[in-house]
């Protein structure tokens, strides 16, 4: 046996090299260069500075844009009273319940539709009809059926989310490499084995990507539902601010949404990395 086989070494990037360089190099997690980070910080500082200057100097009326200080004190007051945290928690809870319910229905259904043509034929007409409907168009019907309580908000999130999860699931299930399915069957795998060992793990990255996109959509659904009819939640908070002419409160609500959705995204990314350890080495 040749030395080429024996002299395998692991280089810094974790890629094993032998005689020839590896065709795919593991994605080295490169940090952004410092000067680019500085530019991002600077650009935020400039915009905040302009906001501060234009409101302090009276270039812009506080009726249209409150001072940054007002927004901060509004946020502090709402935090102290506990109202803000309650609103954040209520919205988050509605999003999570509606989103999880949508995932629990749409992921299995999508997989079945992708692998079994009759199921696809049965559900396709409804998917086509329901897909163009924005979730707010479900508000009248859901209010009639469910009232204006929690279940109605959850239903709105569900109706706005499940179709996207379904479409992503179908798409990524269909894209599983048929060669891998062949290889599995050639190694003695039955239908259930192919499903568990090939189709599910093969579709998982696409399904998770779809869930991440849909989570942001679920948030926009809950906010529109809360603006129309809710006692609490970030949507209701923003709408109250508007009714009371309290623009600072509106901005506090908007800022909270951004932060919460960003955090949710980061959390989803961490979960993704934990669930898909092999993806780190894929595509560089």
């Amino acid at each position: 046996m040749s030395d080429i086989v024996r002299n395998e070494a692991v280089n810094a990037a974790g890629v094993v090299s032998e005689g020839a360089p590896a065709p795919r190099v593991a994605a080295a997690r490169r940090r952004r260069p410092h000067y680019l980070l500085a530019i991002s910080v600077l650009s935020v500082v400039i915009v905040l500075g302009l906001w501060y200057l234009s409101t302090e100097r009276g270039w812009v009326s506080p009726v249209f844009l409150p001072k940054p200080g007002r927004v901060l004190s509004e946020a502090a007051a709402n935090l102290a009273s506990g109202q803000l945290l309650t609103d954040i928690w209520m919205s988050t809870q509605r999003v999570l319940l509606g989103f999880l319910l949508a995932g629990a229905v749409a992921v299995p259904l999508g997989i079945i539709m992708a692998v079994w043509a009759p199921a696809k034929a049965a559900f396709d007409p409804f998917v086509s009809l329901l897909r163009p409907l924005p979730s707010i168009t479900w508000i009248p019907l859901t209010m009639l059926w469910l009232g204006i309580g929690e279940s109605q908000k959850i239903a709105i999130v569900f109706m706005g989310s499940w179709i996207y999860i379904l479409l992503y699931t179908i798409e990524s299930t269909k894209r599983v490499d048929p060669l891998l399915i062949r290889a599995a069957r050639n190694l003695g795998a039955g239908d259930l084995d192919v499903m568990l060992h090939v189709i599910l793990p093969g579709a998982l990255p696409g399904i998770i990507a779809g869930l991440k996109v849909t989570l942001a959509i679920s948030w926009s659904c809950v906010l529109s539902a809360e603006m129309i009819a809710a006692q609490n939640g970030l949507g209701a908070l923003i709408w109250q601010g508007k009714d009371w002419g309290n623009l600072a409160l509106v901005l506090v609500g908007m800022l909270c949404i951004s932060v919460v959705v960003l955090l949710a995204d980061k959390l989803a990314e961490m979960l993704e990395r934990a669930l898909l350890p092999w993806e780190r080495h894929q595509r560089s």
């Binding site: 080429i4 005689g19 020839a20 062949r182 290889a183 998982l204 092999w278």
Partner: protein, 267 residues
């Protein structure tokens, strides 16, 4: 390996036609017959487009012949046949499974206990010189190493026949040579029947005990050549006069087919 015994694999008057988009039938293989005996290392050699892969796919049961029959130990192959294990040119490793889990896959499908799987997989990983890489994912390995994982995976599943569809085509020349020697060693040790597709005369001569020269599309067996080069074989056989004679004999057979196929492609 007497001619009288039942061939392990056989194709009897096999024709395979594909219907392409515009009702055109593309005849990949026409009226092809061949016998392969247990323990042989057979190379199917031919220009691209001579239906070599089609034959292999029929032996694996991935496709069925349009006419005629493919037989495994005298019985027709009707569905995907795990007794004829396939090595794909593009490896077809499961990217979400580690080297160990990939190699264990066939054993798991057979319902072996975990400890048993571990032990057997370890032996085959050792055999293809990948000990120490059990917990790596395929994407962390070079092409040559990935191909060795597929070989270990297939050997662990213990099929009766190894079907190899240009398995080393994607490798660089040096790695390919190492892999060829490895494969000869594996064949020596396991005495498995191997059907190996290649369009490299050198590869066919180094590896095979018998080689089938294929005609251009539609594919047929043009000549069967017993490879008389001494075994166990080493790369150095390439400088022997017998090798040169055999190579020019094969090339004479194949040259007209290559030109004919080139003319077809130009239509």
């Amino acid at each position: 390996m007497t001619g009288a015994s039942l061939p392990i694999l056989a194709a009897c008057n096999v024709t395979k036609a594909y219907t392409t988009g515009k009702d055109h039938a593309l005849v990949a293989v026409e009226n092809l017959s061949l016998d392969i005996h247990e323990g042989e290392f057979v190379c199917l050699l031919g220009a691209s487009g001579c239906g070599k892969s089609t034959i292999l796919n029929m032996f694996a049961g991935f496709t069925q012949p349009t006419a005629g029959e493919v037989l495994l130990r005298g019985k027709p192959i009707r569905g995907i046949e795990p007794r004829c294990g396939m090595i794909f040119q593009s490896y077809a490793l499961f990217p979400w499974k580690t080297v160990r889990a990939n190699v264990e896959f066939g054993l798991k499908m057979k319902g072996l206990a975990r400890s048993e799987r571990r032990a057997r997989a370890a032996a085959f990983i050792e055999m293809v010189n990948l000990a120490g890489f059990e917990e790596h994912y395929p994407a962390e390995l070079s092409g040559g190493m990935q191909q060795r994982v597929t070989i270990a995976r297939l050997l662990a599943a213990d099929p009766e026949v190894l079907l190899m569809d240009e398995p080393f085509a994607a490798l660089d020349a040096m790695t390919r040579q190492v892999m060829q020697e490895e494969l000869l060693n594996i064949h020596e040790r396991s005495r498995k029947t191997i059907v190996f597709i290649t369009h490299s005369i050198d590869e066919a001569l180094i590896l095979s005990s018998r080689l089938f020269v294929m005609s251009a599309r539609p594919g047929r067996v043009k000549a069967i050549i017993a490879n008389t080069l001494p075994t166990p074989r080493h790369i150095s056989v390439q400088v022997s006069p017998e090798y040169g004679a055999l190579k020019s004999q094969v090339w004479n057979l194949i040259e007209s087919e290559v030109r004919r196929h080139g003319a077809q492609a130009a239509d």
